[in-house]
């Protein structure tokens, strides 16, 4: 099954974005 590999920490996402030269998809969600 396909699965998006979500980051959970902004610092980690920013570090990957700089290294991999990709934009960030930031999803704010409400689980309820």
């Amino acid at each position: 099954m396909a699965e998006i590999k979500w980051e959970k920490e902004m610092d980690a996402a920013l570090a990957r974005a700089k290294t991999e030269k990709k934009p960030i998809l930031l999803d704010f969600f409400n689980p309820h």
């Binding site: 902004m10 934009p23 960030i24 998809l25 704010f28």
Partner: protein, 151 residues
């Protein structure tokens, strides 16, 4: 989004290959305040330094998600004056997703990106003509209306 769109195989492949995905709770601080989150889902495209370039509030079905995210990526490149990259992104949206709600804006932005990179006003007029012919009821056809007067 978590039940329908994100499990979609094409969506997951696109996101994993083209973007760095991060999910935060809608009250996660300081980010919820920094990004002024008032409703969910709020789906935001950021550049590598964390600056916002595109935002969608509300559900996106799988068939709209990919072209909408491609538009977000194109806007990152456009805003950072990377017009060659922006044009490549926009061409893909227009060619692959002609029925997407993101496509009229992509056509408009292609015209602007072309003008910004060449200073040729024909790109703006071409945007108007395509929008007028194929998407006459879109807001982007209205926004391009002044370009009909260009030579």
């Amino acid at each position: 989004m978590g039940a329908v769109t994100y499990p979609d195989a094409k969506v997951a492949e696109f996101v994993n290959n083209k973007m760095i995905p991060i999910r935060l709770l809608s009250d996660a601080q300081p980010y919820a305040k920094d990004f002024n989150i008032k409703w969910t889902p709020s789906i935001i495209t950021l550049d590598e330094s964390g600056t916002e370039h595109h935002r969608v509030v509300g559900f996106l079905p799988p068939e709209e998600f990919i072209p909408t995210m491609m538009l977000g990526i194109a806007k990152v490149n456009f805003d950072l004056d990377r017009f060659k990259e922006a044009l490549a992104d926009l061409e893909k949206i227009i060619a692959k997703y002609p029925k997407s709600k993101a496509t009229p804006e992509a056509i408009y932005l292609r015209g602007v990106s072309g003008y910004k990179s060449t200073h040729d006003p024909k790109t703006l007029k071409a945007a108007y003509e395509k929008l007028h012919a194929e998407y006459p009821d879109s807001e982007w056809a209205a926004r391009a209306l002044p370009y009909r007067l260009l030579p």
